[in-house]
């Protein structure tokens, strides 16, 4: 210690002076010394060397001096554990001080001293103070509990006992600290809460805001464990909704087609006027029903049995005003009484100025309230977000999760999420994420205009995010895709690599969804490949260039289905005759057979053989060449079940999942049922066809083919339109040229780009082996000496497949299918997974990982646990409350509906003696208003209660507060 300052004489002298001042007999000098000491402390210096001198002052009577010493003690006691023990005695003395302020202070400081040795003493003190007459001291006791627990967790049982007593307290001020202690020490002991649940609910409004936050959390967890789910809507982010969030449209879980309130909700969101009416109605009826509820509660506390006989009366008749509201009541009707009490009593908190309260209660409602009640909650959240720029980020994050779960909820607020130029980047990202979720056909134009404005921002990262958002919107709504692609095309020339790359990637994804539409876009893009620098963009363009065949393949299939059924029959017939294999008998293969093109026919012959064999072959190759696995699988799936994408996926899955023979076995059964429908179909077509038309068509077909063969030797497509063919030719030429040129810079490309160029080259080769051949072999040669293992492997596979200057391997037959199989359009994932599964409003949610101490929300029980556990203490208080309940009605109606019920039941819960005493006094009600309003300080409304409180407050909290209350009320 001294070593730090040994070289600095001045400081040393200061310290000596200070020490002298502390030991001085003059109170003023002491005070000055202490103040200076604390000043040193606050600037981060080590002051523990003065410990002994300071502790001596504890014995002083001056309150100011004490406070200063305490401040010092708390800070340094940990470093001077042994000396700290010396101070215990004076604490003990202070704990018996007549002034509650001193008692509370002593307890607070004592429990803050982090010296484990004093734990037993502190626990004793806490126990004593927990039943102190002054709520102020009781609050300090409640606050001390977690501190002790942190110091020595083995004392949990003792502490739980104390908490149990403290939960009975009826002062909101104390209760909030007691709940904080409960949350920390024994959050799982739900049984302690049961009997206080109703009391807590009613007191919620009267607590301080911090207590409300803690309480809302506690109640959320409690209700999740104790009540059934409010309705069938998703409350949590499930895998399906995540998938939807990443661009898969309309998963069934989100279709709002539920019986009952689902219909109401639809109506509500579809009709804004109706919504407004609904809000105002529900608000006013809330008000009135609150009033009636408070009556109801008064009665029920007066007579528990009565309450049981009329369980869900109050809501239903009031909300008949509008259809939606009626449905709402219907939806709510099966909620537990206590569940509704919770929702009702927490609703006013949404109007808090504290964003934390709004968030906590918002989360509570989101999890527990029926969906029809949610809009109000959400409006409050959106409002809170605007009011507090600091909280904006976290609120947004939570809204983002809510939106991902229930996108329709926030539709009406969507312009609240427009990005402000001063928002930090992550807030912008969140806002964009929310915007893409709430995007609907109605608001799409506005949204797009807004997004386009963002594109002009000078922050490249933000622009990239915006592009991604546009892409996601377009993926959700194909009707705006064309506009989006056009605007994105401009951006592909953006000076920023990142932006341009993002634009091209998004275009690619959009194009793949509807290739025919965007043909010209693709061609323009390919022409621009030279100018693109971002590797991702180059890879995407390279893919698009190769995508030609895919583009027209899809085209062809459509055409074939639409116009040329007969041709198809014709084409299929020979195959039918040859092997009876329907699966590989796509019109393409069949036709090629009839054309008898040299190498191709050879290639097709094995293709016509039974497919299980193929699978086996392919599989063996799969095992041999690991890198080719995906493609091979795609082939096998493709060859077997081209007609049906689902089977395709299944087969692919099974192949991937199980290696070797097992896989081929599983593939076989999926194959077999596939054959039948195809065969049937084919036969039916044969029957229906007429000879004459057959001939005619055949003629036409041949003529066309002859033309087409000039350009494309392997004509897959039967398309009559000449222009289409021309574009196709152009396209091919263009792609070929681009690829050829890209070979120049090939070694400098990144791996993904290289792979795509290779793929494309192979695709081009498939189209036109003669022209693309040299290019491909050159490319393969380059790949073979590439640095990346992946690329070398891929090159080897392709080499084997296309037999560039070698023998044909079995793989060759699949070359076409491997490369040209239909690829699923890629999803556009959100730039960062902005949503996560943790409970709303929690720290874990904000930081996207499990913070220490985070406990997942319990799931709703299938069958609600009996609600009688919560009745327990009312039953015992039945008699007493019955007599006292009547007079209390008008009294303590300050903020909460009825404080009175709590306190009298509370007074009587402990033991039967209290109930007796209450019976005798007979005026328990007036004391209720006394205690209720005393705590929340109602001065105007409950003035009437002031007269008789002194007489009756004795039985209110018979154990503790009596004199205190009386004094506060008589002010």
């Amino acid at each position: 210690m001294a070593g730090n300052y040994a070289d600095d004489a001045q400081i040393e002298e200061e310290r000596r002076e200070l020490d002298k001042a502390l030991r001085s007999t003059n109170a003023r000098e002491k005070l000055d010394g202490l103040k200076r000491l604390i000043g040193m402390m606050s600037s981060g210096k080590d002051v523990s060397s003065f410990f002994a001198a300071v502790v001596m002052n504890l014995a002083q009577d001056s309150f100011e001096l004490k406070v200063l010493v305490y401040i010092y003690l708390v800070r340094t006691a940990e470093q001077k554990a042994d000396e700290a023990l010396l101070s215990i005695n004076s604490f003990q003395k202070d704990l018996a001080h007549p002034n509650p302020r001193v008692r509370a202070l002593a307890l607070r400081v004592m429990s803050s001293i982090r010296v484990p040795m004093i734990v037993p003493v502190v626990i004793l003190a806490v126990r004593k103070c927990a039943v102190d007459v002054s709520p102020y001291v009781r609050k300090a006791a409640a606050a001390a509990i977690p501190k002790v627990f942190r110091l020595d967790a083995t004392r949990q049982n003792e502490l739980v006992e104390i908490i149990e007593t403290m939960l009975r307290d009826s002062t909101p001020f104390v209760l909030s600290s007691a709940v904080a202690a409960f949350q920390e020490v024994c959050p799982t002991r739900v049984d302690l809460i049961h009997r206080h649940f109703r009391k807590i609910c009613r007191m919620l409004v009267d607590m301080d805001e911090w207590g409300q936050i803690l309480m809302a959390n506690l109640l959320t967890r409690y209700a999740r464990a104790q009540f059934k789910q409010p309705d069938a809507y998703d409350r949590e982010l499930t895998a399906s909704s995540v998938a939807r969030g990443s661009g898969q449209v309309e998963s069934p879980t989100l279709a709002l087609a539920l019986p009952g309130d689902g219909g109401a909700f639809e109506k509500q969101s579809a009709n804004p006027v109706g919504t407004a009416g609904f809000y105002s109605d529900s608000e006013s009826s809330d008000g009135s029903s609150d009033a009636s509820d408070s009556d109801d509660d008064d009665d029920s506390d007066g007579d528990t049995k009565k309450k049981k006989t009329k369980p869900s009366k109050p809501k239903a008749p009031k909300q008949n005003a509008s259809l939606a509201a009626a449905a709402n009541a219907g939806g709510e009707s099966y909620l537990d009484d206590d569940h509704r009490l919770l929702l009702r009593s927490s609703r006013p908190l949404l109007q808090s100025q504290n964003a934390g309260v709004v968030m906590a209660v918002g989360a509570l409602h989101f999890y527990l309230a029926p969906v029809a009640d949610l809009p109000k909650t959400l409006r409050a959240l959106v409002f809170a977000m605007r009011c507090k720029p600091e909280s904006q980020h976290i609120v947004l994050k939570n809204i983002c999760t809510m939106v991902a779960v229930q996108p329709t909820l926030f539709e009406t607020h969507f312009n609240a999420f427009f990005v402000h130029p001063a928002d930090p980047l992550d807030v912008r990202g969140l806002k964009l994420e929310i915007l893409t979720h709430v995007c609907t056909a109605e608001n799409a134009p506005v949204l797009l205009r807004e997004l386009q404005a963002y594109l002009r921002s000078s922050n490249d990262q933000f622009v990239a995010l915006t592009i991604r958002a546009i892409g996601r919107c377009a993926a959700i709504m194909p009707q705006i895709a064309t506009v989006c692609v056009r605007s994105l095309l401009e951006l592909s020339l953006h000076p920023s690599e990142k932006v341009a790359g993002e634009a091209v990637v998004v275009i690619r994804a959009l194009v793949q969804r509807d290739p025919k539409e965007h043909l010209h876009v693709v061609m323009r893009l390919i022409r621009r490949m030279e100018q693109l620098r971002s590797p991702a963009a180059r890879a995407a363009v390279a893919w698009l260039a190769g995508g030609e065949l895919y583009v027209f393949g899809a085209d062809a299939e459509k055409d074939a289905e639409a116009e040329a059924v007969l041709e198809r029959v014709k084409a299929v017939a020979p195959v039918l005759g040859a092997a009876g294999d329907g699966a590989s008998a796509t019109n393409v293969d069949g036709r090629v057979d009839t054309e008898t093109d040299g190498p191709e026919s050879a290639a097709e012959t094995p293709a016509a053989a039974p497919s299980p064999e193929h699978t086996g072959k392919v599989l063996s190759t799969v095992r041999a060449v690991e890198q080719g696995a995906l493609h091979a699988i795609a082939v096998s799936a493709n060859g077997e079940a081209k007609e049906e994408p689902t089977t395709d996926a299944e087969a692919a899955d099974s192949l991937m999942g199980e290696p070797g023979a097992a896989a081929s076995e599983t593939a076989t059964p999926t194959e077999v049922p596939e054959l039948d429908p195809v065969q049937n179909q084919v036969t039916a077509m044969v029957i229906s066809s007429k000879d004459s038309s057959k001939k005619k068509d055949k003629k036409k077909y041949r003529k066309e083919k002859a033309q087409a063969a000039k350009v494309e030797r392997k004509a897959r497509v039967v398309s009559a339109a000449k222009s289409a063919r021309e574009t196709r030719t152009d396209f091919w030429e263009l792609a070929f040229a681009v690829i050829k040129r890209s070979l120049n810079g090939f070694p400098n490309e990144t791996d993904t780009t290289k792979l795509q160029i290779l793929n494309t080259a192979c695709k081009l080769y498939v189209k036109s082996p003669e022209r693309a051949g040299p290019v491909l072999s050159h490319l393969l040669a380059m790949c073979a000496c590439d640095g990346s293992v992946d690329i070398r492997d891929r090159a080897r596979v392709y080499k084997a497949m296309f037999a560039v200057g070698g023998n044909a391997t079995p793989l060759a037959t699949f070359g076409k299918q491997i490369l040209l199989c239909a690829k699923p359009a890629p999803a556009l994932p959100s730039p960062a997974a902005q949503t996560c599964l943790h409970a709303l409003g929690s720290l874990s949610h904000a930081v996207e990982h499990k913070a220490p101490g985070f406990v997942d929300l319990p799931a709703h029980p299938q069958v609600a646990p009996p609600s009688s556990v919560r009745d327990l203490h009312y039953a015992s208080a039945n008699d007493a409350a019955g007599k006292s309940g009547k007079a209390g009605k008008g009294g303590g109606d300050f903020y909460s509906d009825s404080d009175d019920s709590d306190s009298d039941s509370d007074g009587s819960l402990d033991s039967s003696e209290y109930t007796d005493s209450e019976n005798e006094s007979g005026s328990g009600s007036s004391d209720d208003s006394g205690s209720g309003s005393g705590s929340d300080g109602d001065s105007g409304d409950s003035a009437g209660s002031g007269s008789d409180d002194s007489g009756s407050s004795s039985d209110d909290d018979a154990d503790d507060v009596s004199d205190d209350d009386a004094s506060s009320d008589s002010e």
Binding site: P389, E530, V847, S968
Partner: protein, 521 residues
């Protein structure tokens, strides 16, 4: 080169670190063994662990307090300052959450003071942030302005306040009114007493808090010679304008600030005209919510001094624009657009009564550029628009700007790349105009610099295309502030203000004020 302000990614990285106590090196053997034992159970400590108050300009520590184990403050502060600097540099709102080791740090900035709270475990983030916000409110109520020197002067009061406000890491009592009973503010009277009596003035009141404090926000021994209550209704307009000056999006938010200097325990009820316009509202804890829900009367026992009674959001003004076929759900998007354009010339139908117009024009060449802005008031407003401040944020590649204005003051700030233009009062006869000549870093130069690394792929881009790129890229944000006193823009007015429960007749006053909230072009 751009610093991303928030580091969510690193949050995850830090989280998996094992429990390693960072406590003081002075821990005795006893405590250290205890701590190991404790670490198994320690997983549930919640609430704020430590609090630092720092000066963000000099980056020095003003005060610190630990509720849990001691946290090394150096690394935490480093992190916070870094994030703060980044947000200042880019003119953004600061983010609030960072991590350092296993600490989650929340920080908010008010003026030169930054408040930092750390916690280790699951704690409601908003609770912490709100607490810090409230802490500032309290300190402001105590010391009127919060600066480093003031805090150091009153460190004892500060520590007492912290003690009272936060117990075991959970906020307890944060109403300035209530705290003043427990910890008397350092005012002149106290100082005089300490001089006269030769003894320390009342540092701490030792009276029973509950006798004095029936309501958490109001003590009952408040006495004033003259009783006054003043209301300020402050409304702010948020608006987003596009480059042609059309209003894209707008909203009105309002707040009622009360300055109450009333003795005893008055019960005030306030009724507002046009209260149906209020769409969303939040109240001070003193307001009886049920009363407002039933008859729209704000009824409350005021806290002493200045506080925000309520804040509200005004309903989208479709009520006013009845002639216009504006649809709340943007079904007819074009109608809304036309409405905004039409409303620009005829104020009767305007949805957004923005009292002034701004027309920016920006042209950027490759090395030179020019921004000119015309700004003027609309005649519809009866009260004059005052103290208009326009902050023009220029693109990053601007190296120098030379603003000149026909009226008002204009200055260039080269750190934030922005030009500030202040107009106190609009001249009657002419419309003020701001012209900014800017020098730009040549785009091609920076372009080529980027390409240099890429090697062969970068060929010279045709000049015409480059021009197009630039135009797309450059965007000038203009943030506008203005104020109109004496008028509430939404039409919400105070109808009656009644004070009951006390005998005196207080003097009352209401002021209306309209501000530009977040007006962005």
């Amino acid at each position: 080169d751009r610093v991303v302000p928030c580091s969510w990614a690193c949050v995850t990285a830090f989280a998996l670190k094992s429990y390693a106590p960072q406590d003081t090196p002075h821990a005795s053997p006893v405590t250290s063994t205890k701590r190991q034992f404790q670490s198994r159970f320690d997983s549930r400590t919640m609430g704020i662990g430590s609090l630092f108050i720092v000066n963000n300009e000099t980056e020095s520590l003003c005060a610190l307090k630990h509720w849990g184990a001691t946290v090394g403050h150096v690394s935490v502060l480093e992190k916070v300052f870094a994030s703060h600097r980044a947000s200042v540099k880019h003119n953004l709102y600061a983010d609030v959450l960072t991590t350092e080791g296993k600490q989650y740090c929340f920080h908010i900035t008010r003026g030169e003071i930054t408040y930092i709270a750390t916690c280790e475990t699951e704690t409601e983030p908003l609770m912490v942030i709100e607490f810090l916000t409230q802490l500032h409110v309290v300190l402001k109520a105590y010391f009127t302005d919060v600066t480093e020197s003031v805090l150091q002067e009153h460190h004892v009061t500060l520590y007492q306040l912290l003690d009272e406000m936060l117990d075991s890491g959970i906020p307890v009592n944060t109403h300035p009114g209530g705290l003043k009973v427990l910890v008397p503010p350092p005012n002149l009277l106290n100082r005089a007493q300490s001089v006269v009596f030769g003894h320390q003035g009342v540092l701490v009141s030792d009276q029973d808090p509950l006798k004095l404090l029936p309501l958490p926000w109001r003590s009952n021994n408040i006495k004033y010679a003259s009783n006054e209550i003043y209301l300020d209704i402050i409304e702010s307009i948020d608006a987003t304008l596009d480059s042609e000056g059309r209003v894209l999006h707008s909203a009105i938010h309002g707040a009622i600030e009360v300055n109450s200097r009333l003795s005893g325990m008055p019960d005030v009820s306030l009724s507002l005209s046009n209260s149906h316009l209020i769409e969303e509202y939040s109240f001070h804890p003193s307001v009886r919510l049920s009363r407002f829900a039933t008859d729209r009367v704000v009824s409350f026992v005021p806290a002493d001094g200045t506080f925000t009674l309520m804040s509200y959001k005004v309903k989208a003004p479709q009520v006013k624009a009845e002639t216009n076929s504006w649809q709340p759900k943007y079904i007819k998007q074009n109608a809304w657009q036309q409405g905004a354009v039409g409303g620009f010339n005829s104020p009767t139908t305007t949805q957004v009564p923005l009292p002034l117009y701004i027309r920016p024009q920006a042209t950027f060449g490759s090395t030179q550029g020019r921004v000119s802005i015309v700004c003027g008031t609309k005649p519809a407003f009866e009260k004059p628009v005052e103290s208009v401040t326009l902050e023009v944020r220029l693109p990053d590649r601007v190296t120098f700007a030379d603003p000149s204005a026909t009226h008002g003051l204009a200055s260039y700030d080269d750190v934030g790349h922005s030009v500030r233009w202040m107009i106190d009062k609009f001249p009657v006869d002419k419309t003020p105009c701001l012209t900014v000549q800017v020098t730009l870093e040549s785009y091609e130069a920076s372009d080529l610099a980027k390409q240099g690394g890429k090697g062969s792929s970068g060929k010279a881009v045709p000049g015409e295309k480059n021009g197009r790129r630039v135009r797309l890229q450059e965007l000038v944000d203009i943030h506008c502030n203005f104020s109109v006193s004496g008028v509430g823009v939404s039409g919400i007015k105070v109808e009656t203000l009644q004070v009951r429960n006390e005998k005196y007749k207080p003097s009352q006053g209401v002021r209306y004020h309209t501000r530009g909230g977040r007006v962005v072009v």
